[in-house]
């Protein structure tokens, strides 16, 4: 279980290059580093639900990213906060 304040990295993975899939981790976050804000609960994995497969229940986190670092544009201090599943996060 990840804890608030913990540094994490989004997996650098591109499932869309390997065939039909359904992913809830946006393209712009792959490989990016962020900080866990809080645990949001446990939910059935949408990547399995989308294909009507029996889903595993997995942890969901709110993760904060530095907004200007994602794009090399924007105002210093601004943030993007995103719901991400444990299966997409690595401890940084």
């Amino acid at each position: 279980m990840l804890t608030p304040g913990q540094a994490v990295r989004v997996k650098l993975d591109w499932p869309e290059t390997r065939g039909p899939c359904h992913i809830r981790t946006p393209h712009y976050l792959r490989g990016q580093s962020g900080v866990v804000e809080r645990h949001l609960g446990r939910f059935p994995n949408p990547e399995q639900l989308a294909f009507a497969r029996p889903p595993q229940t997995i942890d969901l986190y709110h993760v904060r990213f530095d907004q200007p670092s994602l794009w090399q544009q924007g105002q210093q201090g601004d943030a993007v906060v995103v719901e991400l599943y444990e299966t997409w996060l690595e401890v940084a």
Partner: protein, 192 residues
Amino acid sequence: MSILEADSNRLLQAVLALLKQKDILTDQEIAERIASTDSATPARGAMMVAKAWVDPAYRALMLRDGAQAAEAVGIPMRGLPPLGVLENTDTQHHLVVCTLCSCYPRAVLGYPPFWFKSAAYRARAVRDPRGLLAEWGTALPDNVQLRVVDSTADYRWMVLPLRPAGTEGWSEAELAAIVQEGDMIGVTLPTP
């Protein structure tokens, strides 16, 4: 050509005919569903915001569990996704987007507006959020941190805006009347 490329109106008629024929749904259920969905409007969220502005205990409940706070004022939430509430302060402003589709806190705000579903909004909110806000005439001071919340998963998010100056002593109903849809997504700020 795929059968799915059929004209959308005909596709709907065909699907409806089959679902009714197979006893999966009825015209009455559809009519009731439309009526119930139409009854959810931004006035619901505005009522919650106004209550949170005058009642600290309600505000605390709303920030802890948005769905419970919605139910506490009679908004049905059973079977719906959790509702997260994002608190704006003097130093922090929230903006909600769904870059992957159109996740929207429908139970408290109703159908998502056209702009929320548009490619321009979805593309720009995470990359040029202050430029995007400028289109609504919303300018945040430099010392306010902007937090863009990309609604990607199981929660639905609404913004609890700051109570504007000049509303001292107003009733809940008067306060609710100035809270607009965009204020609860973060593109605009309530004004008295």
